[in-house]
């Protein structure tokens, strides 16, 4: 084959075109940095969020390929938002909290930062699972409930990791006990998302299944947790949806009863509970 016939590499923009994109979208990128600063009660300039957003904008302008048919802002928004949040996390004031109020704010920042990992669509300006929906009030409320429940699981997990109070330990134990009554595949879903910090979409790719299977199952699991916590004991455990059945086989082969069941079955934990 002649050299001229070789398939072309994805065509990026020329330097002038890329620079024009940067000039055109500078104000927009700054507005993303301002939004992050507003949300986390920071200063977008003093805390360096403006620079991080600008760097990400320049990076995106160099990588952007119009031939893919995605508008530039659709392509760049998540990356710029990510750069701004990363910069915010590196600031000195990120985890500083002397007073109770400031300490709660610092903890809330940590929780929200992890929540981005579970629901990355938020960075694009969407509530969880809002993309295909009507966006009415009922859907917004359902999405907000999902965010709150996710945040609550993360907060409980984070609380026991650093000098927990007795109440926090009890809350955590109660939550883990409810989770331990689930099918192993469901336990792993919750564990991968809230303990390993990976997104629902990434779990779906790992398990080689459709993202909707995992997202809908996650929703069902949160409803189950909500009901069980309200009753103070596990309710009827949800069935595994057909799309996830092949994953059950995988865990059966591995002999796993689920991460939460395994933790509760540890002898040292049993002894501690008995004493």
């Amino acid at each position: 084959m002649a050299n001229s016939e070789k398939p072309k590499k994805a065509s990026a923009l020329s330097e002038d075109e890329a620079n024009a994109l940067v000039v055109e979208h500078q104000g927009w990128a700054e507005s993303i940095a301002r939004a992050v600063a507003r949300g986390w009660n920071m200063d977008w300039r003093l805390d360096g969020l403006d620079g991080a957003a600008m760097e990400a904008l320049i990076f995106c302008s160099r990588r952007f390929d119009p031939a893919r048919g995605i508008p530039f802002r659709g392509y760049a928004r998540k990356r710029i938002h990510e750069a701004a949040t990363d910069a915010a996390r590196k600031t000195k004031g990120w985890s500083r909290g002397v007073s109770n109020r400031a300490s709660a704010e610092a903890r809330a920042r940590e929780v929200s930062s992890e929540l981005y990992g579970v629901f990355p669509e938020i960075r694009d300006g969407f509530l969880p699972h809002q993309e295909g929906g009507s966006g009415d009030e009922q859907e917004c409320r359902a999405a907000i409930r999902e965010l709150l429940m996710g945040a609550s699981i993360i907060a409980s997990r984070q609380a026991v990791a650093t000098d927990p109070l007795p109440d926090e330990l009890l809350d955590y134990r109660r939550m883990v006990s409810v989770m331990a009554s689930l099918e192993p595949v469901h336990q792993w879903l919750l564990y991968r998302v809230y303990w390993d910090g990976i997104s629902l979409r990434t779990v779906a790719s790992e398990w080689e299944t459709d993202g909707l299977n995992v997202m809908r199952e996650h929703k069902v699991l949160l409803v189950y947790l909500q009901k069980s916590m309200a009753l103070g004991k596990p309710t009827t455990i949800p069935k595994v949806r057909p799309g996830l059945k092949p994953i059950i086989q995988k865990f059966k082969h591995e002999g796993s009863k689920g991460p939460f069941t395994d933790v509760l079955a540890r002898p040292e934990l049993e002894n501690n509970t008995n004493t």
Binding site: E24, G27, W28, S31, I32, A35, V36, R38, G39, W40, R68, G69, I70, P71, R73, G74, A104, R107, A108, R109, V111, S112, L115, I122, R123, D124, G125, F126, L127, E131, G135, E137, C140, I144, R145, L147, L148, M149, A151, S152, I154, A155, S156, L165, D167, E168, D171, R201, E208, T209, D210, G211, L225, Q226, M229, A230, G232, G243, K245, P246
Partner: protein, 116 residues
Amino acid sequence: MTKKKDEKSVGKIGSTGATQGIKSTSAVDAVDKVKAASIVQRVSGVQGVRAASGVSGISFEQRERLLSMVSEEAEKLAAQGFIPKNQREVVEQAVRMIIDSTLLEPSADKSDKNKK
């Protein structure tokens, strides 16, 4: 009376090739039974549809409403015991933060529309 020749009329048609022959068809041997379709294991994600379809997410105009919804729903979940009492403030604030940090100010949205 003389007929005027239409200027657009076809002048000449070249000879068409004659059909050479039709090969004999073979008999259908057997038809397999229709098998049950297996469960769809995975459908790969469609890239860029959201960005191209113009589906709009949450906007700055909804800010106050969304933030008040967070408080209302947090109260319900705390009452049900899902959010522990000592975590209520942190959890509610975390969700307020994550929503607020994604809402772009209206000026940016306006320039967005103008530039499209």
